[in-house]
Symmetry: C2
DNA sequence: TGGATTGTGTTATGAGATAACATAACAATA
DNA sequence: TATTGTTATGTTATCTCATAACACAATCCA
């Protein structure tokens, strides 16, 4: 997404219309449960993430924030992203400096991604960190969150 | 390392003296095999990484580069880091924007870290990406490199 | 020995993120 | 329903991290 690649980017198509509405409603609900507030800037950033076909940079969000074209100030967006990450609504992809909405219900603070170096797609998959958590335990670590990023080529980009 | 934490940082003590010399010699050897050149700036950056007790930021390396106190120019260090990562001598820890020497022989381009949010230690451990690689294959991805970063507390920092 | 390749030096600038402080909205409760 | 603590936002400025672009030097190799 947002790349120079000619292939389709089908990893996670962006939401729109009622699908988007439902996703936002669900987020509202989960916030209520968690005694957290999905305030307008937070909701707007989540909306932008959900609408996107692929990972968005912070400054993409900043530029797209205002519905009338006015950008947001950086802290507005970074704060919203912090919130969304804390609640598990979004993930930061470290190796891309980019953000995606969480696609996996109840993934908590751990996430795993398959990132295509050609088309830029980032597919979230169900993390199974069994072996890694076992290794952490052996080393005496108390793990709070795990992120895994696998770089390579998606199916479409291999067949070129 | 470089943190505000009072705990010891025993993850990977830095090398010095003959241990450092041996590690650098080994790197020379591996470069020769790979038809790559461990030029002075590359060797210097590797040396700094090996000497450190913990992850180093790029600008730490830039500041420490000159033996007489003169800093390096950023591209000098970033290029050396690129080289060292390409050859598997160093890893970038994405969630820290920092770099460590590779501690695992033949780890290639994949790496896994246990990162202590208190003392800043980053312990590299032997990656076993079995389940994740299986998931990638099911999704049709061709994986080139995997990095995993587990955040939490090391043993010492839990018992505070 | 000359051309291609790879690496370095240098200047400048682009991208990503946060500190600090003032103000506003909300929630609890007295 | 005024008061107070807490949480969130708005705003300015600045900091950290990383790379583009180009000239020059060293090395490789036909």
């Amino acid at each position: 997404m947002g790349s120079d690649c000619h292939h389709a980017d089908g990893a996670h198509p962006g939401l729109s219309g009622s699908g988007l509405g439902r996703a936002l409603d669900k987020a509202e609900e989960r916030c209520a449960h968690a005694q957290a507030r999905l305030t307008p800037p937070r909701k707007r950033v989540l909306e932008l993430l959900l609408q996107s076909d692929g990972p968005l940079k912070a400054y993409d969000l900043i530029a797209a924030f205002g519905t009338e074209g006015q950008p947001a100030k950086p802290p507005t967006v970074y704060r919203a992203l912090d919130f969304l990450e804390r609640l598990g609504f979004a993930h930061r992809i470290e190796s891309l400096n980019a953000y995606v909405p969480c696609r996996i219900d109840g993934a908590g603070h751990s996430a795993a991604f398959l990132i295509c170096d050609c088309c830029g797609a980032a597919a979230e998959f169900e993390p199974d960190f069994g072996p890694q958590l076992a290794a952490a335990e052996r080393a005496g670590y108390a793990v709070r969150a795990v992120t895994l990023e696998a770089r390579g080529l998606c199916g479409a980009c291999q067949t070129s």
